[in-house]
Amino acid sequence: MTNTADAALLEKEEDHGGPLRTFIGSQIAGPLAALILAIVVFGVTTSTFLNADNLSLIATQSVVVGTLALGQTLIILTAGIDLANGAIMVLAAVVIGKLATDGNALWALVVGTLVCLVMGGLNGVLISRFSLPPFIVTLGVLSVLTAAARLYTDSQSYPISSDLLTILNDGPTVGGISITYGVLLWIALTAVLGYALTQTAWGVRVYAVGDNRAAAALTGIKVRRVLLSVYLTAAVVYAFAAWQALGRTPTADPSGYSTANLDSITAVVIGGTSLFGGRGGVVGTFIGALIVTVLANGLTQAGIDSLYQQVATGILVVIAVAVDHFVRTRQTR
């Protein structure tokens, strides 16, 4: 009896689990619907939006916030939040930029990554070992790092000339569309993190910790270690973001990217990840980052004044999550 029940249950599964059905039932259907809607609207209302050039521009414009948002997703999945990711990236970028002026660019990149790891580790230790609220810990780190970047550079910007550091802004042209290595890196990071979250034990544990931390601890998950690993992984992602940023704006600027943090959280939330942890994923975030860029780009293409653009962005962001919400409610009913 056991075996037949068993077999029946699994068979039933496969019966219903057609790929289309699985897709529509998935987390990303909502954000994707919002993205497509936005693309269609701008495609119809402007003539330049759907140009190959413009589309590749949108991808390029998304990479920095998009990469930051990948790390942010990991942290938000554990019911945390990282207010410092922009600052960590900027500090890493200026360290890389300054070291590269009088040294080896590769070495500078390594040191920049170490900076991210130390800062992510600091956040992680304070949050996991001392159970302090992520909001405050990362706010504190933000404040320290913003000042640290200024102190380190004496408020100077460093222009970047090394090819290695700006390589992510180059890339092949495929069928008239130029794709930068930065965009490819962003896609690759999304894929790797998506794999890690959905196909490995580590991923299951990240979700479990964010979903119900107490239960995760009772089932014998090393909650602290998982949390620390998440902050460290995010730190590595931030190092990539710093590299992306040096490619996009070839200057290590201590006061740049000050809205990147809020933008990264926005991308995560628009991408359907819950701020309460345990639900969501990086593919949604990828789409969320694209939505944010599409709105800015599309409104510019539509020739809307910058102030009204801000008004429109506010309204459209709310509409985007409303679409997501609508799709999601439909599918669970």
Partner: protein, 313 residues
């Protein structure tokens, strides 16, 4: 939405230029942007505008310039949020034959753009520094109310002031320094805290006039109005009014409208016959406004200032 292809003809009706500003929540930028836009529309051009979200937000400006290149504008008037961050994208635009002139601030190297029309902020700071030195009480106790010093103009003014006053950052005459956000309210809080620690402050350098105004409220709340001399930079009408009212001792006036008009004139020249403007910084001028002139420094009165100021009177 059908106006996009400004490519071929050079008839003025299908010329579009881009204006990329800093965040406009300060009337200075509004004045600059409006003057630029007015001059452009007077020529029958269309304008595309964008602005950085917060000070230092070069990423948004890079994106904006890319979008403008995609829209095939003829010229871009840029108020750069960062001296070096925009160099590459500016080059990209210029490679496509777009004229890029910067206003208010420069890029580094300065010839990365076709031309620059800006206040020489170091000179402006120096002017008020010299005035302060000449009018300062015998034992000055100085408060510096700054703005993020990685911002080009802010750094220039700060250094200029110290140079004009003849001191360095470490001078004991400096009682204290605080960072503001260039707004009234942050100026007030910073001044309040400095006054609590150093009630003997008698000379206040402020990054701009809103900060000066806030600092004045702080002094007034403590009954210390008139006990400290204030210097500032900007020349907005409200600031000049403060000079007239004796709140601010002296301010260095800038001319944002002139920057915009010069920039548009350069663009017109380029669009009409391909002539590029003279490269490098063209100073749009600075005038010291004070009702207590000092020997050896040219200055104008607040009366003059009110006639030449910008923003709402």
């Amino acid at each position: 939405s059908s106006d996009d292809d400004a490519g071929s003809g050079s008839g003025s009706s299908d010329v579009t230029i881009g204006i990329v500003e800093l965040n406009l929540s300060n009337p200075f930028f509004g004045t600059l942007e409006k003057a630029t836009e007015a001059a452009a529309t007077a020529k029958g051009w269309k304008v595309m505008k964008s602005e950085a979200k917060v000070p230092g937000d070069s990423a948004t400006q890079v994106t904006a310039i890319e979008n403008m290149i995609a829209r095939k504008v003829k010229a871009i008037v840029l108020d750069p949020a960062n001296p070096t961050a925009l160099v590459d994208v500016v080059k990209k635009a210029r490679d496509k034959g777009i004229l890029v002139v910067t206003v208010n601030a420069t890029v580094t190297p300065v010839d990365a753009a076709d031309a620059t029309f800006a206040t020489d902020n170091t000179a402006a700071g120096k002017l008020i520094g010299q005035w302060a030195k000449a009018s300062a009480p015998p034992s000055p106790r100085i408060a510096l109310l700054d703005f993020d010093l990685s911002d080009g103009p802010a750094g220039g003014r700060h250094n200029g002031f110290l140079e004009g006053f003849g001191i360095t950052d470490k001078d004991p005459q400096i009682a204290g320094e605080a960072l503001t956000k260039g707004t009234v309210e942050t100026g007030q809080s910073a001044m309040e805290n400095l006054l609590s620690a150093h009630p003997d402050i008698n000379l206040v350098y402020t990054i701009n006039e809103p900060v000066a105004h806030g600092a004045y409220t702080a002094l007034k709340n403590k009954g210390l109005q008139g006990k400290a001399t204030m210097v500032s930079v900007d020349g907005a009408c409200s600031g000049v009014q403060d000079v007239k009212d004796g709140i601010i001792g002296a301010t260095a006036m800038q001319f944002p409208s002139k920057m915009g008009e010069l920039a548009v004139a350069a663009a017109a020249e380029y669009i009409a016959n391909g002539t590029k403007p003279k490269p490098g910084l063209t100073d749009s001028g600075t005038v010291l406004i004070t009702d207590k002139p000092v020997a050896g420094l040219t200055s104008q009165t607040s009366e003059w200032g009110l006639q030449n100021c910008w923003g709402e009177k």
